[in-house]
């Protein structure tokens, strides 16, 4: 009768290594970052452990309120665009035979795994004057001369949608592929058009999954740290870009940490909200 007890014990002992690794290299750095956000800046170094709230006070200004508002607005827009295109796309994808889904899934994962540096480089080239799309439009007579479309807000938006779109597909995919196919068949049999069936039957039955995905993609977009910098002008910089800038180029770790703590807090609240929606869906 000691066998099951030994079994459980050995299972739990396995957790020791992962727990130590994650505590030492995720929890401790994370806590340290929070601590640093309350420390003073040291010129030429990282920080001196003298407690201050100056980093947070500096954050309470119109300049940063502006950046915060822009970051939130941009991420919400990116997420909305991704979902508007991604939801019908994932629905149609999930109804293809498995064999035909695979190349699409491989493509989505390949694009998703691409470095932000590569995506930024590709889009800035695509929208540039020398190598860009505008040359194509000139060639077919739609435009008089090539134009530079980057840096601009549109360029930032395109790059960020490009990065977040595969992510939204992969987040939506489980919900759509587990959807009972008889649901839309029933709607079709009762005379609904495919578009009506999608909006009146599919969307309501996945409402919570869609809301959860919106939040998850929103947080993902909030994390873009290079695209606004590579494809936009300084007024298009987001909180993530500013954190990188403060930490690396201005070497003001404490201030960067304070902004990061703020970013984490807002992301966490949103992720919790999304699991609330996700949880309700599972409970149903």
């Amino acid at each position: 009768m000691s066998a099951p007890a030994r079994t459980n014990a050995s299972g739990q002992a396995a957790l020791a290594f992962p727990a130590v690794m994650l505590a030492a290299f995720f929890v401790v750095p994370f806590g340290l970052m929070i601590a640093v956000s309350f420390f003073s800046r040291e010129q030429g170094g990282f920080y001196t452990p003298v407690l201050t709230t100056a980093n947070y006070q500096r954050f309470l200004s119109w300049f940063f309120a502006d950046i915060l508002l822009f970051s939130v607005g941009l991420s919400a827009l990116v997420s909305a665009v991704c979902l508007t295109i991604g939801a019908p796309f994932t629905y149609l994808l999930s109804r293809l035979p498995r064999r035909s889904q695979v190349p699409w899934l491989v493509a989505m994962m390949a694009v998703l795994s691409l470095s932000e540096v590569i995506i930024g480089f590709a889009w800035s080239t695509l929208l540039s004057r020398t190598a860009g799309l505008s040359n194509l439009f000139v060639a077919i007579g739609l435009m008089d001369g090539p134009e530079a479309w980057s840096p601009s807000f549109t360029a930032v938006l395109c790059g960020m949608v490009y990065q977040a779109f595969p992510y939204s597909i992969l987040v939506l995919y489980p919900a759509f592929s587990r959807l009972d196919p008889s649901l839309s068949e029933a709607a079709r049999t009762l005379g609904a058009s495919p578009v009506r069936a999608f909006f009146n039957v599919i969307v309501p039955s996945l409402r919570n999954a869609l809301v959860a995905t919106f939040i998850i993609v929103f947080v993902f977009a909030l994390g873009a740290y290079l695209l606004p910098q590579l494809l936009g002008r300084p007024q298009h910089w987001t909180l993530s870009v500013l954190i990188t800038d403060q930490a690396v180029y201005q070497s003001n770790m404490p201030f960067a940490a304070a902004m990061a703590v703020f970013l984490v807090a807002s992301s966490l609240i949103l992720v919790l909200l999304s699991t609330m929606f996700g949880g309700r869906r599972e409970a149903k």
């Binding site: 079994t7 459980n8 299972g11 739990q12 396995a14 957790l15 020791a16 290594f17 992962p18 727990a19 690794m21 994650l22 995720f26 994370f30 340290l32 970052m33 990282f46 295109i85 796309f89 149609l92 498995r98 695979v102 899934l105 390949a110 795994s113 470095s115 932000e116 540096v117 590569i118 995506i119 930024g120 480089f121 695509l126 020398t130 190598a131 860009g132 040359n135 490009y162 779109f165 592929s177 587990r178 009972d180 196919p181 947080v219 909030l222 994390g223 740290y225 290079l226 590579l230 993530s240 954190i243 990188t244 930490a247 690396v248 770790m253 960067a256 940490a257 990061a260 992301s267 992720v271």
Partner: protein
């Protein structure tokens, strides 16, 4: 009929959106002269050769691959015991460790990067080569964790119970039944972590940015201090690596299932 046509058109537009930026950098990468023009002028594969002949690019590629191999292996070593322990018995502690494994990936990457920077700078290892391996491993643990947990959930309890009844001990069950059954999931998780580590910029930059040059760091520097078609050719190489790796995962595993679809082909 209309529906099919609409689906085709819609899928075509999405494919166009996904492919266009990559087609342009592929075009740029075959320019004959050192300029980033599109459509390309002349044809040359010289910029692909440059990846391996140019000292700077070759060493960046080598560094990136070594870091990714180390980080992906370590990520699997962290994820595998978590999956195993939770499969044995779901405990509160196990759940907490699992949550810690998933969190870094869900949070904005800047957070992990900044945490790593504060940590390594404080303990005095800032810039050491192993810092990026460990930080990447922790950052990407969630990928093997997800695939391995899925692998464990496919193991039929009756099989292990039968083995136990026949007198096999835990160790034998683990090595002869459990590990072979989850091996494909371990490999997929490793592959995901490997490709993502290869492409990761910000954590690498904030840990070893001043001592090591990885491919994304080198491309970023080239973006700021001087364009060369080699940055296009190596980007194309990275896209190809991702397609090949995920293609292999799909070839030898069930990709739709790995990504969360039900197992029996959507028939429910």
């Amino acid at each position: 009929m209309m529906e099919k046509l609409f689906t085709r058109l819609f899928f075509g537009l999405v494919a166009l959106f996904l492919a266009t930026p990559l087609v342009v950098i592929a075009g740029v990468s075959i320019n004959e002269k050192q300029s980033l023009t599109f459509p390309p002028e002349g044809f040359s594969l010289g910029w692909y050769a440059q990846i391996f002949t140019d000292e700077g690019w070759r060493s960046a590629l080598f560094t990136s691959v070594l870091i990714a191999l180390g980080a992906a292996s370590l990520a699997v070593l962290i994820a595998l015991p978590i999956g195993y322990a939770l499969w044995r018995k779901t405990t509160v502690f196990g759940r907490i460790v699992q949550l810690l494994g998933v969190s870094p990936f869900v949070l904005p990457p800047v957070i992990t990067a900044l945490g790593a920077l504060s940590f390594w700078a404080t303990i005095g290892s800032y810039g050491a080569w192993y810092t990026v391996v460990i930080s990447h491993a922790v950052f990407f643990t969630s990928l093997p964790l997800v695939t391995i947990s899925l692998g464990f959930s496919t193991i039929d309890r009756e099989v292990t119970e039968a083995a136990s009844t026949m007198g096999a001990d835990n160790r034998q069950i683990l090595t002869t039944i459990v590990l072979p059954m989850i091996a494909p999931y371990i490999i997929s998780g490793f592959a995901f972590a490997f490709v993502l580590s290869l492409n990761e910029y910000i954590v690498a930059y904030m840990t070893v940015g001043f001592t090591q040059v990885t491919v994304p760091i080198k491309i970023f520097n080239a973006l700021r201090y001087g364009y060369t078609p080699t940055m296009a050719s190596i980007s194309v190489l990275f896209v190809a690596v991702a397609v090949v790796v995920f293609g292999l995962v799909a070839r030898f595993g069930d990709l739709p299932r790995l990504l969360g679809a039900w197992s029996d082909g959507g028939q429910k």
